[in-house]
Amino acid sequence: MSYERPKLVKTFVDINYMLKEAPRKQHFITGAQAMAEAVKRANVDMAIAYPITPQSEVMHLVADAFHQGHVKEYYRAEEELGTMSAIAGASRAGVRLFTATSGPGLLRGLEAIVSWSGHRVPAVLGILTRVVNAPLSIQPDNIEMAYMMHCGAVMLHAENQQDTFDMTLAAFAIAEKVDVYIPVAVATEGFFVTHAKGYVNMTSDELALTPFDAIAAPVPAMDNETPPARIQRDAPVQKSNFMSYLIHAVWQQEIWDCNKRAMKYVYEYLGGPIEVQNPEADVFVVASGCAAAQAREAHRTSRELGLSVGLIKVRAIRPFPVDEIRATVKNAKALIVPEHNIIGWLAQEVKAAIPNGGIVVGGPRVYGGMTLPVELIMKEIHTALGLEFNLKL
């Protein structure tokens, strides 16, 4: 059985045109579809897949995109460590790369993923969140993101299907910037977003991002083509002396500087790392990802009740918007941080970002796949304002 994949003729456009100017049409699609549709338009050279629920749907659809000619190369790897390692290998040849995973899959691939930044791999990683075993479960819970936060990668957290589409496209552009050139992860909640439909305004799939430019890379591809020649006669990092410690230390600093430098592109392409509603409020609900949708609803309800409540949606987890959050909440009396995980990694980040961490209310938190009722957030809002709330679930 032989199948000739069609050679598609696309119009190449830059990321600003794609995100801000290109005409869009509204579609009613799942989060998985939104991510795959973004990959279709990203001019991806190679995608490598390994199944895990709830991610699988994304890479099924990317496989279809490959079959239809939108992606140039695709294969199903042996498991996540093999997948993430192959991404690292392929990136040395100077190509645009995409893969996606979930929960235990992310942790299995983590040894390779955490070295992507140091290897200067500008790949895009979809994280469709899922609980980490045990006990076994496939349900949404974003605790895995806590493990990703310290590897240097840029991390975006999508609230809904539209965010998933826009952030995935922006991720490719951010990752490949000469002053960034580290991986970008786009996370969103498994099932709640991946398997639920929402309205997504999408550009035409006849448009594609301009091709990956291996020559423009700050760290040349190991393709024996791109100067300067990478003829390595000595690897000082392998030695046990001060120079080797220094090289490693400087390299780590550079990765985190790259991460910081990504912030200006988060502003340029996504309108900034946070969205703020009612900046004069006494109490803010601070949330990211799917929890931000519930926080938005709690904010709306509070405003209807005439309560002084604002909303901060956090789009970028790395680089973390320390200055932006600090400036927004400088007069706030309480910050409510609803999350889809037990440890409250966002609450910890927010606490560390502000001088008066005592105003942070860590919670409400749901985990193990539970939904996040708006009433739980409303109860915390009322408590923070010194009001009674009759919680009925």
Binding site: E78, L81, E225, I231
Partner: protein, 302 residues
């Protein structure tokens, strides 16, 4: 392009490290095996010269031989993992990619596919060179699956039958009964049948050897690379003793390699018909070129 890429502009030469300039002027880039191959090692600037390996290390010798045998060093990328081997491989003048533990064949899968995507009309040689632990233990799944998928690159296993770099622990390739660290009572199970596994997984050219004969070892390295270019995965399982952990006196390292040739590393060469076709064709071409050149030299002498 790649030969051009290693060659500096003449006026820059004086600013470049002497070592690099000498490599370009007197190294094997763009040269034939007659000019700069294993047959005249020591007479040209080699790709791997200095290395931090132990005195008498048979692995260092074999790695040096691999680099001297490369059909096209200016188009070659090597990949490896933790272990003694990478200490030397990373000091060769060929791009070397070091990833994580045992992931060399997964990385090479991505790399070789991406090379074919970007340079459909060029041949880039991708070679993974890793130890027995990296290839058959921690990297086992990634090694096997790269073969099962038919990935077109060469895998070379430097088998010293022990985890040498971490201090001498038992590996899956250690022989049964070997008393090593983590095996105080001797290894309880057999050496893994690497070449059988390679065959079952679909490697199209497989050799097990103790590389005591330079010419033969070089020929096999080149065969494995030529076949990987056109047909499918190739695998060399080479004995590269650890004279430290197995307490082999330096002056007996070669004798030990000869001895192993008679038991665990008896020469075995397997090739599919398609692989044989490639080997026959390329070796006939090489022979013809060699004869033609010899003819010219004889004419000139006459």
């Amino acid at each position: 392009m790649s030969l051009k890429y290693v060659t500096p502009v003449a006026m820059f030469k004086k600013y470049l490290p002497k070592d690099y300039v000498e490599l370009v002027d007197f190294g094997p880039f763009g040269k034939t095996q007659d000019e700069a191959g294993p047959g005249n090692m020591g007479q040209f600037k080699e790709l791997m010269e200095e290395h931090p390996m132990c005195s008498g290390c048979w692995m260092a010798y074999y790695i040096r031989l691999i680099f001297a045998s490369l059909p096209c060093p200016e188009e070659t990328v090597t990949l490896g993992t933790a272990g003694c081997g990478r200490l030397a491989i990373s000091q060769a003048a060929v791009p070397f990619i070091y990833g994580n533990y045992g992931d060399q064949n997964a990385m090479a899968s991505g790399l070789s596919r991406a090379f074919r995507l970007r340079f459909p009309d060029k041949q880039k040689d991708v070679i993974t060179i890793a130890g027995d632990g990296g290839t058959m233990d921690i990297g086992f799944s990634m090694t096997m699956h790269s073969w099962i998928r038919g990935e077109r690159f060469t895998t070379i296993m430097l088998d010293n039958e022990v985890y040498g770099n971490t201090g001498g622990q038992e590996s899956g390739m250690s022989p049964k009964g070997a008393v090593l660290k983590m095996a105080p009572g001797g290894k309880q199970f057999n050496k893994m049948p690497a070449t059988d596994l390679a065959k079952a997984a679909g490697c199209v050219y497989i050799v097990r050897m103790s590389p005591t004969n330079i010419k033969k070892a070089a020929k096999i390295i080149r065969r494995a690379i030529f076949v990987a270019r056109e047909v499918g995965p190739t695998f060399i399982h080479a004995y590269t003793s650890c004279n430290i952990e197995y307490s082999i006196p330096t002056e007996e390292v070669f004798a030990d390699a000869k001895l192993r040739e008679k038991d665990r590393f008896q020469f075995e060469e397997y090739m599919t018909d398609a692989a044989k076709e490639v080997i026959d064709r390329i070796e006939a071409e090489e022979k013809a070129a060699h004869r033609a050149k010899k003819g010219i030299v004889e004419e000139e002498v006459n």
